[in-house]
């Protein structure tokens, strides 16, 4: 199983920390799971112009390939103008529309204020659902007040991060099992 962490902004150390924390919790649970963190700010990604996803080159191609080959995701997003950052939307725009078919997505949000708690529901989930992702129902929302010196300092968040990690692993296993069961029903 390969789980890809995506920090969905150009420069948000808090989001990177949040995704890193979830990936670490995944590793703590099961060392054999391969994890990788990509921060979109580390890549020179082209704007989507609607072409086939395999026809991009350079960093854009690298990022798309990483996404297409993962089994599950932890997507981290800050809140920009009451929505996800443009760079993250651009990543979705670059991908084929069923890129997340049979793949599991866990979500962690960072924000300056609790007012945006439902941003994920109204902005991010519709996109992921359209792209056929299986979304871990409960996401983790972290108010930036809980970040101190690059660390998350909240018992509550620690527990919720752990739950997100467990859910992401378990749901991915179930989805893979389900898919196998479905395919075994066919005799070809």
């Amino acid at each position: 199983m390969k789980i890809l962490g995506i920090s969905g902004s150009i420069k948000s150390q808090k989001t990177i920390t949040a995704v890193e924390t979830v990936l670490q919790a995944i590793k703590n649970k099961n060392k054999s799971i391969e994890t990788e963190l990509i921060s979109l700010g580390d890549f020179d990604i082209a704007y989507s112009d609607g072409r086939d996803y395999r026809d991009y080159d350079g960093d854009t191609n690298t990022v798309i390939s990483k996404v297409m080959s993962a089994d599950a995701f932890v997507i981290g997003t800050p809140v920009y103008q009451s929505s996800i950052p443009g760079v993250l939307k651009n990543l979705f725009d670059l991908l084929p529309k069923d890129a997340f078919m049979d793949k599991v997505v866990g979500i962690v949000t960072t924000a300056g204020s609790d007012k945006h708690f439902l941003m994920v529901e109204s902005q991010l989930k519709p996109i992921l659902n359209y792209m056929k992702a299986i979304i871990v129902p409960k996401y983790v929302f972290i108010n930036e007040a809980f970040f101190i010196n690059g660390k998350i300092v909240s018992d509550d968040i620690e527990f919720r991060v752990r739950q997100l990690a467990d859910d992401t692993i378990n749901i991915t296993e179930v989805v893979q099992e389900m898919r196998k069961k479905r395919e075994d029903e066919f005799d070809f």
């Binding site: 112009d49 609607g50 072409r51 086939d52 996803y53 395999r54 026809d55 297409m68 084929p96 078919m101 479905r182 395919e183 066919f186 005799d187 070809f188």
Partner: protein, 352 residues
């Protein structure tokens, strides 16, 4: 339909199309040489003619795993190895070509083939050819529309005056040679969406619709939209033919066909489209209302007739050589398609 050389009193036209893919055989891992594949394509056209199929189509694709980039050259060769069967490109990527040269080439093919050649113009779903030919993707739509309009104008007018963005102007230009009866049959290739079908309707050109796989009714929207726009734009939709294209594999039993074909189709998709074909979606092929033409010959007949009820189309093209299938299999499918499927379909669809 006469303008497009289609005789509805004979029933639907049934033919083959190849995209010239060159893929390894999934069971052996071996890929035949480019030369062998191209010669096999030529042979397929000959077999199709001998078996009595109506038309053979060959498309260009400039990506890895393809070999018919110079499709008009191969078609040129086929004009000499066949005598009766209609031939068409499918598709010719007009956006990255010079329409004047395309017209010259296809007019020449029309003369050589005694009026058997047709042309299906398209935009290409992959962009490799744009990069190869140095054509910017920025104007993907505009380039095609402009070049297609010019192609249609050259077909209408002997002396062309034309000005546009993406090619040098033409002043009192005679585009020569002229096709056999002064007109080429030019179609527009359309993906599944109504948006592109509507454009074909506005232009009053016949439409070849890709109906690769999926519920048959999903493509009806595009066909209906095409005809509505034709009639609204002053054309007569009863005089404009529609063709559909699907992947096709036929065996004695539907379950055998599915078992034999799935590995080829799935591996082929993985190499050509980036991801294997979903088993779940493939399983739907056993239903007569799914467009993927995999099954025994009776099921294939049922599917074509069901679609004919929905679309009222005039032509069906089967892709029987996808995925590195051994040539002996391709030969067998052509035989069944021509001798079992086509006679029934023609009989059931002919108009008085």
């Amino acid at each position: 339909m006469k303008e497009y050389k289609i005789d509805e009193s004979k029933g639907m036209e049934i033919g083959l199309y190849s995209l010239g893919d060159l893929l390894p055989d999934v069971h052996t891992g071996n890929t035949i040489s480019e030369q062998e594949r191209i010669k096999n394509i030529v042979q397929q056209a000959k077999l199709a003619e001998e078996a009595g199929l109506d038309i053979f189509s060959l498309g260009e694709s400039h990506q890895p795993y393809f070999t018919s980039q110079a499709h008009q050259v191969i078609l040129g060769y086929i004009t000499a190895t066949t005598t009766k069967i209609k031939l068409t490109s499918g598709v010719t990527v007009l956006s990255t070509a010079d329409p004047v040269r395309v017209f010259e080439e296809f007019s020449t093919l029309d003369l050589l083939s005694n009026g058997r050649i047709e042309l299906i113009a398209g935009r290409a779903s992959r962009t490799g050819v744009y990069k190869l030919m140095g054509i910017s993707l920025r104007d993907y739509e505009a380039i095609f529309e402009e070049k297609f309009e010019l192609l249609l104008q050259m077909n209408r007018e002997r002396v062309v005056n034309w000005e546009g963005e993406y090619r040098a102007s033409l002043e009192d230009a005679e585009i020569l040679p002229r096709p056999l009866n002064d007109k080429l049959v030019i179609w527009r290739g359309v993906g599944g969406s109504p948006a592109s079908a509507i454009k074909a309707g506005y232009q009053g050109v016949p439409m070849t619709l890709a109906t690769l796989a999926g519920p048959a009714s999903a493509f009806k929207e595009a066909v209906d939209a095409y005809r509505i726009v034709l009639d609204k734009s002053g054309f007569d939709s009863k005089k404009k033919p529609v063709a559909t294209t699907s992947l096709c594999y036929i065996a004695d039993e539907t379950s055998t066909a599915m078992r034999e074909y799935f590995p080829y189709m799935s591996k082929g998709f993985e190499l050509v489209n980036g991801r294997p074909f979903s088993k779940y979606h493939f399983a739907e092929a056993k239903n007569s209302n799914n467009t993927l033409m995999v099954g025994n010959w009776e099921l294939i007949v049922e599917k074509i007739l069901y679609q004919h009820e929905l679309y009222g189309h005039q032509r069906f093209l089967a892709q029987v050589d996808f995925g590195g299938l051994p040539f002996s299999k391709i030969e067998k499918i052509i035989d069944i398609l021509a001798n079992k499927v086509a006679p029934v379909v023609r009989k059931e669809t002919k108009k008085d």
